[in-house]
């Protein structure tokens, strides 16, 4: 193998390059952790959707976010079942309540009513059949594991919601909301607890399961006709979840904050990295000038600097990803919503590599000092 000048210099002078590698790594961690936290927090508004196994969601036209659903006419289900590709339809109710625990304390809660049959779609990912069956008993509820402290309650204890007595019969995972508390009950219990859900001819959403999930878009296209759009709207689960996240990113201003903080992280990363690379180029100026003297073309020298920038970016990114995985582990241990998905990792990886390469390009200006005639003084 030919002499790997860029790589060998980096290894030999690793102390010189360390600040750049660290700053790239920290930029990466900052972007990923911020983004994952933000998506985790904002994504908790889409939990009813992401924790269910429905292919299609049917709800009030123009609903911006899953947690903002309004009631639609229960008769809609008959229209939907006409399509033979639909396997099952079930309602999901969303209301509000005022929680009073047996040990005192009041909290406003979000009330979610789900079909309690074992093969139901609603919150199927959070509420396994065995736990779901407990809801068949009237006036029973489930709370998230992580909310037991906040609600000052435990399994088996009684409480009041909107003045109605309920009993906590079990816990679920992955339904912890930021700011609020999700309480899950059967459809019948939900209707008794929140008076606005009482009318049996209205539901908040219908959840549709298809025989073949890949048919979701086709079924949606067929069922959303101009004359139905005033009464209900159909979304695929991914659509409604995405729409909820986007709505809260913009509505809360957190999205802007993320963009702003990311921009700062990138700027600082670029500055530190380019300064480091410039210093490295400056330290090697006589050597580069000697290469120029023996006829090595300028673009070949540029390649050395850009390759070093690439290595700095790659090593920094590896550090950043490692740090982010650690952060994800910590978040999981503490029950903090942390949505570390491939999207945010790819985004931050691309940004961080771009930072390193941009810094490398900035450092190229220093190569102009590598003038061989300057060695002859």
């Amino acid at each position: 193998m030919a002499v790997a000048l860029a790589r060998k210099s980096l290894l030999h002078d690793w102390r010189r390059f360390l600040p750049a590698i660290m700053s790239v790594g920290f930029s990466g961690v900052l972007i990923i952790v911020q983004g994952a936290l933000l998506l985790g927090i904002v994504g908790s508004n889409a939990l009813p959707v992401t924790q269910s196994r429905a292919d299609l969601w049917i709800g009030f036209p123009g609903t911006q976010s899953a947690d903002l659903g309004r009631s639609i006419d229960a008769g809609v289900s008959a229209e939907l079942l006409v399509d033979p590709r639909i396997r099952r339809i079930e309602p999901l109710l969303m209301g509000a309540g005022d929680w009073r625990g047996s040990r005192g304390g009041g909290v406003s809660v979000t009330l979610i009513g789900i079909d309690a049959r074992p093969d139901a779609l609603g919150l199927a990912r959070s509420v396994p059949p065995a736990v779901r069956a407990l809801l068949e008993e009237p006036a029973t509820i489930l709370v998230d594991d992580g909310d037991l402290d906040k609600l000052a309650t435990a399994i088996g204890e009684a409480a009041e919601i909107n003045g109605h007595r309920v009993r906590v019969v079990g816990t679920m995972q992955g339904m912890r909301a930021m700011g609020g508390v999700n309480i899950v009950a059967s459809l019948a219990t939900a209707r008794t607890l929140d008076r606005s859900l009482a009318a049996p001819d209205s539901v908040t959403y219908y959840l549709a399961g298809l025989w073949a999930s890949d048919q979701a878009r086709a079924v949606r296209a067929r069922l959303s006709k101009p004359d139905t759009r005033s009464r209900f709207e159909i979304w695929t689960a991914a659509d409604l979840a995405g729409r909820s996240v986007r709505y809260w990113l913009l509505e809360s201003g957190a999205g802007i904050g993320f963009v702003f903080a990311t921009a700062i992280a990138l700027l600082v990363g670029t500055l530190i990295t380019s300064q480091t690379l410039m210093a490295a180029v400056a330290a090697s100026t006589p050597q580069y000038a000697t290469l120029r003297a023996i006829g090595v073309a300028f673009p070949k020298l540029r390649l050395i600097v850009v390759e070093q920038a690439g290595w700095v970016g790659a090593i920094g990114l590896a550090l950043g990803l490692t740090g982010s995985l650690l952060a994800a582990g910590l978040a999981r241990l503490n029950g903090i919503p942390f949505a570390l998905g491939p999207g945010i990792m790819a985004l931050s990886g691309a940004l961080v590599l771009a930072v390193a390469l941009l810094a490398g390009v900035l450092a190229l200006r220093r190569l102009r000092h590598a003038d061989p005639a300057a060695l002859l003084r």
């Binding site: 030919a2 002078d13 000697t290 120029r292 003297a293 023996i294």
Partner: protein
């Protein structure tokens, strides 16, 4: 055909902050192959400027440089780069070695840029290091070499591509007398053995004593041109 190098009516001036310095005025010179030609003279008299023009590192204001039958003045920057890559070796006062590379890699790097296959490049790099007497130290980095050894690595780097033109600017002025003598002898032997054109700039008497030809300069002009200065009397006076 033996290599040839000649310059005619070369002039070069520099303007710094509105003040013009005439570094070289109307210099004409022809250098012989197979001999160590030395350009000497007081500091600031234009020696390095002449070397830089002869080797195609910079362009004259007036005059022409003919090297190996090519008019360097007619070449653009890229073509002069290519000319130097193919034909020129350089040794500078500072050794300018990469701290991260061992001696063998410093030398091999040149051949990499010439597109020489890896195995052959490494073999030739070892040979060049043998030639300068560093065969056993080819695995050492600059930090582990003495000043004289570093300059010998730099010489190996300059000669590994077997250039027909070898230029050295004050190659001994950073070295003690023993190492200076070693480097000087080395440069002359290379000239004699390879038949290359070797031009060296120096005001070091040790070098002057061993050169085949001494070209003395003053104030941007040639002053004296003496071939074979190695007579014993000349040695006496230069001490």
């Amino acid at each position: 055909m033996p290599p040839s190098l000649s310059v005619s009516a070369l002039s070069k001036s520099y303007v710094v902050q509105g003040i013009r310095t005439q570094a070289l005025s109307d210099v004409s010179l022809s250098v012989d192959p197979g001999a160590l030609s030395l350009i000497s003279g007081p500091s600031g008299c234009g020696k390095s400027t002449l070397l830089s023009l002869m080797s195609g590192l910079s362009r004259p204001d007036r005059g022409a440089v003919h090297a190996l039958g090519i008019g360097l003045g007619t070449l653009d920057d890229a073509a002069r780069d290519a000319f130097r890559l193919a034909h020129c070796g350089f040794v500078f006062q500072g050794f300018n070695l990469f701290p991260a590379l061992d001696a063998c890699e410093q030398v091999q790097l040149v051949l990499d840029y010439q597109g020489v296959p890896d195995g052959e490049a490494r073999r030739r790099a070892r040979e060049a290091l043998e030639l300068v007497g560093l065969g056993r130290r080819s695995h050492l980095r600059p930090a582990e070499l003495s000043g004289g050894e570093k300059q010998r690595v730099a010489i190996a780097r300059a000669i590994v591509k077997q250039p027909r033109l070898l230029f050295a600017d004050e190659p001994t002025s950073a070295l003690d007398s023993v190492n200076g003598a070693v480097v000087t002898t080395l440069l002359r032997d290379i000239a004699h053995r390879s038949g290359a054109i070797v031009v060296c700039v120096s005001h070091d008497p040790r070098l002057i004593a061993r050169a085949d030809r001494v070209i003395e300069m003053e104030d941007g002009r040639l002053l004296r041109d003496s071939r074979d200065p190695c007579s014993p009397r000349r040695l006496e006076t230069s001490r």
